[in-house]
Amino acid sequence: MINNILFILITVLSLLTISRIIAVSNLIDTIRGRKPWEVTLKENGINAFLCLMMVFFGWFLYFYFYIKYVRGGLLLPEAASLHGKDIDVLSDVSFTIISVAYLLVQPFLWYFAFRYRMRPEGRAYHFAHNTRLEMVWTIVPAIIFCTLIFYGLKIWIKVFFSETEGDKLTVELYAQQFSWTARYAGSDKKLGEANYCMISDNNQLGIITPETIDEQIAKIGEKYKAVLHALDNFPDPAKFKELKRERELLTHQMKVLSDLKKQSAQKPFADGQDDIVILPAVGEFHIPVGRPVELKMRSQDVIHSAYLPHFRVHMYCSPGSITTFTFTPTITTQEMREKLAKEDFDFLLYCNNICGSAHFNMQMKVIVETEEQFNLWLSQQKTFSASRAPANSVPADTAKTSAQMATL
């Protein structure tokens, strides 16, 4: 309390003091026949000097951070993917150009402000335009930027349009608030189809197989019955509204499921059986070095973004569509650890699109290893149908909360 009063008192007093000082200095100016708002030569000189200092401040910022962070290895390490190396070269070239521009152009601005400061009896030089000069600084940047555009586009096209050679590995990354699930195609090399209406405790990705369809229909049927029952028991108005909405949604879901059931008469829906699902609780997924990896991204709820900066990979995951990004890892986790002399280094996949409260902690490790190690690891994982034996299921909600609990 005393503190607050003191604080207010000091503030008021200092404001009053400043007002008095301003008033008195204005008065003195007026008595001396000067206009208080006119910039005096002395003031102008001081400010001009500070402008000159800005030249050095600008250089200082650049070099201090360059030495400490860029040279000091505190930024992202070298790219660990094939296309990433191209991007890094483009990045170096672009950064060199803009650095030079920054280091040269800023000083002109601040130096001129200093050099051509108001002089007593001074007069500016009337210089309204000069076609040749203007041509120079239209054409020079135009050439530089056009070169950059074409260079950049070349790399971009390489990233997205080049045919991958060799046998590519397809991995699905499935995003949900606030965790990642990975899925590998089994021996048939095909990811099974999925539908969001098929999602349940033991089928977090909504994979469609003949068995899961039946199981889901039974589950939703139970749920629907429960809702009807609750509705019959005269709930209070708020609850009533909620239940009605639930009934609506379950009806819609049932429709989709029965459609799927009909389809299953013609379509075997067999691709998903041998898929391998790596649940969030595992916390890591593996990929082999030197082989193209095609990431297929889906989302369960809102937009997330799969960000794997070490590989220069980044792609949004939007509900309702599948996005892809193909890249070839070139450095294994072990090699990278040795290179950086960091025992605990790991490649990471994390979310880079605002998705809710725990957006800041939605990550998964990416383990890059040799083909043999990878094959061994993959062979140790259970297939989807094998993992659905009741004892092994990890409910989705548990996984979600445990990921959240880890940091909060």
Binding site: A23, L74, L90, Y102, A124, W156, V159, Q300, T407
Partner: protein, 606 residues
């Protein structure tokens, strides 16, 4: 009471008080509240946006505290955030709300309304020699829609489930589903309502600005004799008229999706244990619509700031702006291109990569006219006789920030490089420098420079200098280090970086940024004090304190309806006749008739 003015000295000595005869008492309510006078409306916009600027500033300090010292309690957080800051520790959802509201308020209420609303309103009639906007009533409505929009947004800060929290870009589904984040409940509804009102305000204002510039210039004010400020206000208004309706449409469709079960942007969503009924919508469609406004919006705020910089730099260097025609042409090039670059915000959304390459091409093209502008500003300083008033320093600051921030745009616009830096702090650093702070400097520079036109008094220079230097250094100290966070892979909109050991050795950067933000924020109090003090007790302004050539300096200091007593000044020359050789004074106002030798010269050209 027409006064003929033939020489600059006449202008200086022309008594401002000549106008007082015209004074008649107006009721308080029409003079100060429902005023249709463009000068009063300008002041209303200015004061409202200063209020908002401080609100958004305090928000940024609160979330910066959390980033620098995650999980630590702060008295200010506890005091201001209530249940969202138990024990002074910011809640993660509240963090996102704060970031969202900070961004929304800064972009729309401060930079759009505060800059255009203030200076287009003040300067278009005054610099063109017009008595008021073509439609003063619409102009008044423009302010009151803005006010209503402000009230709704302010109320949204206090709703039970918190204000909107999906980022200022409000991408659905996050912004559509209250189940996904509490801020997407009532908070988001109010956000959308407020934005709809804001768009109406902006359109009413914009139509007026364009119509006035095109139709209502004084005699002799050819388009090519308009000050660059006017060119910029007009272009920005055109951009607004063409792009804001698209945001309106997007907001409307989002309202439908949220409340009426349509599926424009929603599809295949499973949340809270339930499969939702929406199928077939596309979240990417929303992003297209949003950025079709979102990118031009950057120039809607930036162009007026650059216009203000042009005007002040020329006046205070006592030199014509270098390359007037190139400045206008490059501004048109920027404005035109700004409509076909929106996809650079969407390189990695899953948009067709071919489309991405088109957007890279158009985006990097913008760098060319931007470079021309920067070089022209610098050349304007060359061999000047520079008066470093606070307004001038802020104008130089605009150019400095425009260069620093513009250069990193070359990285972000390059689709291949954007893969890595998209949505990281590199972006935050880039847009704060080039758009946020540069434009904020535009508002501030304008206040210092045109204060005599706004309030008839002068601000205190010494406080202005202290304000400028602290702000300038802090602006770089806050936003420069953010580039390196981004290059280390730190995403924006993260509540804390503690979940990532790989970011541990960057924590000292976060502390530097926050400390600089606090110091810079406090420095704004100096400005606020100077502003309020000078309104009431500043020394009375002379008519033309900066010895400028444009028409606003020929109007009397006292605000009168119709701006000029008697006849409107007639224009005889372009606005940048500074330091002409052979002239006694180093400036010739636009309303001074051509000299004999100039007449001869003009005749020769015809």
């Amino acid at each position: 009471m027409a006064t003929t003015i033939t020489t600059p000295t006449d202008v200086l000595e022309h008594s401002a008080h000549a106008a007082s005869a015209h004074h008649h008492r107006e009721p308080f309510i029409t003079k100060y509240i429902f005023s249709q006078d463009h000068k009063m409306i300008a002041k209303q916009f200015l004061v409202t946006s200063i209020f908002w600027a401080f609100v958004a500033l305090i928000m940024s300090i609160i979330f910066r505290l959390q980033l620098a010292w995650p999980g630590q309690g702060f008295v200010i957080t506890e005091m201001l955030m209530g249940k969202w800051g138990p024990d002074g520790v910011l809640d993660p959802n509240a963090y996102l709300s704060l970031v969202t509201m900070h961004g929304t308020i800064m972009v729309f209420f401060v930079l759009t309304a505060g800059l255009t609303g203030t200076y287009a309103n003040l300067l278009i009639p005054l610099q063109l020699g017009v008595r008021d906007m073509v439609n003063p009533f619409m102009n008044m409505l423009s302010y009151w829609f803005f006010f209503a929009s402000s009230v709704v947004m302010f109320i949204s800060l206090f709703v039970e489930s918190g204000p909107a929290a999906a980022g200022w870009t409000i991408y659905p589904p996050l912004s559509a589903l209250p189940e996904a984040i509490p801020g997407s409940g009532l908070g988001m509804t109010l956000w959308l309502v407020s934005m709809a009102l804001f768009i109406i305000s902006s359109l009413l204002g914009g139509l007026n600005y364009v119509a006035t510039v095109i139709n209502c210039r004084t005699k002799g004010m050819k388009m090519t004799r308009m000050p660059l400020t006017i060119w910029c206000f007009m272009t920005a208004a055109i951009l607004g008229i063409l792009s804001f309706p698209v945001l309106f449409a997007a907001a409307l469709l989002l309202i439908f999706d949220r409340s009426f079960g349509t599926a424009f942007f929603l599809s295949d969503i499973y949340i809270n244990g339930m499969a939702l009924e929406h199928t077939g919508g596309s979240p990417v469609l929303f992003q297209h619509l949003f950025w079709f406004l979102g990118h031009p919006e950057v120039y809607i705020v930036l162009l007026p700031a650059l216009g203000i910089a042009s005007e002040i730099i020329s006046t205070m260097s006592r030199k014509p702006i270098f390359g007037y025609r190139a400045m206008v042409a490059s501004m048109f090039a920027i404005a035109g291109l700004s409509f076909i670059v929106w996809g650079h915000h969407m390189f990695v959304t899953g948009m067709d990569p071919f489309l991405g390459s088109v957007f890279t091409f158009t985006t990097l093209l913008i760098a060319i006219p931007s470079a021309i502008k920067a070089f022209n500003y610098i050349t304007t300083l060359w061999k000047g006789n520079i008066v470093l008033s606070p307004g001038m320093l802020f104008a130089i600051g605009i150019v400095s920030l425009f260069i620093s921030g513009g250069l990193t745009g070359i990285i972000l616009g390059d689709s291949a490089l954007d893969i890595t830096v998209h949505h990281t702090y590199f972006v935050t650093a880039h847009f704060h420098l080039v758009m946020g702070i540069a434009t904020l400097f535009g508002i501030i520079a304008g206040v210092y420079h045109w204060f005599p036109k706004l309030y008839g008094r002068m601000m205190n220079n010494q406080l202005g200098y202290v304000h400028f230097w602290i702000t300038m250094v802090c602006a770089y100290a806050v936003f420069w280090p953010m580039h390196y966070l981004g290059l280390a892979g730190v995403p924006r909109r993260y509540y804390s970086n503690t979940a990532f050991p790989m970011f541990d050795n960057l924590q000292d950067l976060n502390v530097i940024i926050t400390v600089a933000a606090i110091i810079g924020g406090l420095a704004q109090l100096i400005f606020l004090y100077n502003f309020i003090y000078s309104i009431f007790w500043g020394p009375k302004a002379p008519q033309n304190p900066w010895r400028g050539t444009t028409l606003e300096w020929t109007a009397p200091v006292e605000h009168i309806h119709g701006n000029w007593p008697g006849e409107i000044p007639e224009v005889h020359r372009w606005p940048y006749d500074y330091s002409i050789e052979g002239e006694k004074e180093d400036f010739i106002p636009q309303n001074v008739p051509l000299r004999e030798h100039e007449l001869k010269e003009a005749a020769k050209h015809h």
